[in-house]
């Protein structure tokens, strides 16, 4: 997942010469949780399966990590799933807390739209994740279900170029209207100018020598 850049003096990789950089904590990661999931996770997933006939087609994966439930959704189905999650009496995810984009540059479907929903009734949270390709970054907007997603989808479009179809006004929000490119994509440089200090030139942060 990490992109390897070349630093000053031709350093590649971690730049570590002491050997201490090899101290990496490994933790088991289960990318596809199996039923029973345990606790309230089963209640939520069962309730969704019962209320949503297209469940098996729409859900790509169920992941439980660090006590957080993530459903990977087929992009085209996201608005339907949100509608059920909001309206079904045993789910009641009334509040869409956050929508954010992520660029997993090494993956084929690299652009992810991540939704965090909150059920105020049951005091539960759930994360929905949709992955699209950079060539066809389209998925339906959830603004008709959660009006609060309006600006947050605009931000994800602005920063990552994810196109939310059906959004009432999908324009840039934080960057200027005539900006080129999508700044938070991983292949978009951080930018910055070298700074001169006492005759020496300090390069911008993304091209400095760095220990990773």
């Amino acid at each position: 997942m990490t992109t390897q850049g070349e630093g000053l003096f031709g350093v590649t990789g971690t730049g570590d010469t002491s050997g201490m950089g090899g101290l990496v904590r490994k933790r088991p990661v289960q990318l596809d949780a199996q039923r029973p999931l345990g606790g309230w996770y089963d209640e939520v997933v069962d309730a969704l399966e019962e209320a949503y006939p297209g469940f098996s087609d729409a859900i790509e994966r169920v992941v439980i990590d660090r006590g957080e439930l993530t459903l990977h959704i087929v992009p085209a189905k996201i608005a339907e799933v949100c509608q059920i999650l909001r309206d079904d009496l045993s789910l009641r995810y009334e509040l869409c807390s956050s929508v954010s984009g992520v660029d997993y540059i090494a993956e084929e479907r690299r652009l992810h739209a991540v939704y965090h929903l909150t059920s105020m009734t049951y005091r539960r949270r759930i994360r929905l994740e949709c992955a699209v390709t950079a060539a066809d970054p389209h998925l339906p907007s959830v603004t008709s279900v959660y009006p609060t997603a309006d600006w947050q989808e605009r931000e994800a479009y602005d920063m990552f170029g994810i196109v939310f179809d059906g959004h009432p006004n999908l324009t840039r929000i934080l960057m200027p209207d005539d900006w080129d490119g999508f700044p938070q994509r991983k292949d978009y440089p951080l930018g910055g100018v070298p700074v001169e200090y006492k005759g020496a030139e300090i390069p911008p942060p993304d091209s400095r020598r760095a220990y990773r």
């Binding site: 509040l95 869409c96 994360r127 600006w151 840039r172």
Partner: protein, 441 residues
Amino acid sequence: MSNAGYAQERETTEGKVFTVTGGDWDSIVSGVDPMHDERIVVNMGPQHPSTHGVLRLVLEMEGETVTEARLVVGYLHTGIEKNMEYRTWTQGSTFVTRMDYLAPIFNETAYSLAVEKLLGIEDQITERTNTIRVLMMELNRISSHLVWLATTGMELGALSMMIYGFREREFILDIFEMITGLRMNMAYVRPGGVAQDVPDTAIVKIREFLDFMPKRIKEYEDLLSGQPIWKARTQGVAVLDVTGCVALGVTGPVLRSSGLAWDLRKTMPYCGYETYDFDVPTQPEGDVYARYLVRLAEMRESLKLVEQALDRLKPGRIMVEDRKIAWPAQLALGNDGLGNSLEHVAHIMGQSMESLIHHFKLVTEGFRVPAGQVYVPIEGPRGELGAHVISDGGTRPFRVHMREPSFVNLQAIPAMAEGGLLADVIAGGASLDPVMGGCDR
């Protein structure tokens, strides 16, 4: 008067465009065709004293009534989220603290809790760390609400409120300076703990603050609550009910002032809030006046929390034990600000080569965080402040997104303003307490 440097009045295909620079009302009034009832578009901001920083409002008016309000944000976008991907996890604290500059401790805490959850070290956070975090957050909540009270007072014509609000806030900033070395943007709460311990002098100062603050809150109440102009400007203005709030994602005092007691400190506790004794104030009306009452009551609740936190402050560690995560240097307050303590420098430079290597590695390279993603929300002064943090297993964040309540709450302005008067746009916008540094990040 001379208008050199400003655009001149001109005819466009859309109609006549006026440039208003003050003192030129006669030319504007005479320039408007009284027989025309075309709607006027008023651009307010981004440089306007009553829009709370660089917020721009585009208002379509019919007479004094707003028919359409559109908001333009982004003037303070500084790319903090992108920048963090090029710095270590610890350096991230110094970036998030600059987002919502009126609530730096909350930004740091949300981010630190997220990093700790990714590391899986939530259980190792010490009792004293949690107590200090609660103490600092509640002091910060009071200072943030004081700025809200001060600026909103100013915008609605209660100018003296501004002076009093900033006076008491200054006292809290002095406390922060005593504890962290900085008044704002302190990067005090860090993954694993806090940067340094609370000195005894600060405890004395906080006790002094606890002593006089209830009287000051009473003074603000005397000044504003029964005041006819204040009531006329706020009561029944910019009403938003619970349904509207939840649909638009509005949380925090605005949601509570429409009657729903949703406070993450109670409903989804963190940092040990479930062990404190405090109430969640609500009001049924959902107007600007209710938001004012809720914030006043919240300041009182925060005082209660600060007092309880002070009583619980028992000696102990302020960082996790794990030496692969805990910042190696003991920080000390010197004449020139916060820096490494002399004992620590003497130790690594003179006594222990291993400590020097260890210090160097942790400071330059940082620690590694196991891959995964978390979303950690806390109750900020403006509502749900969420940190969506993703690690790829490296020494830098793969992605950090902050769910900023200012950004989300601002979407409610059109719902509150349309159909109301122009003057009420100011009251309604101010009642959301937006901070543009947080909104634009």
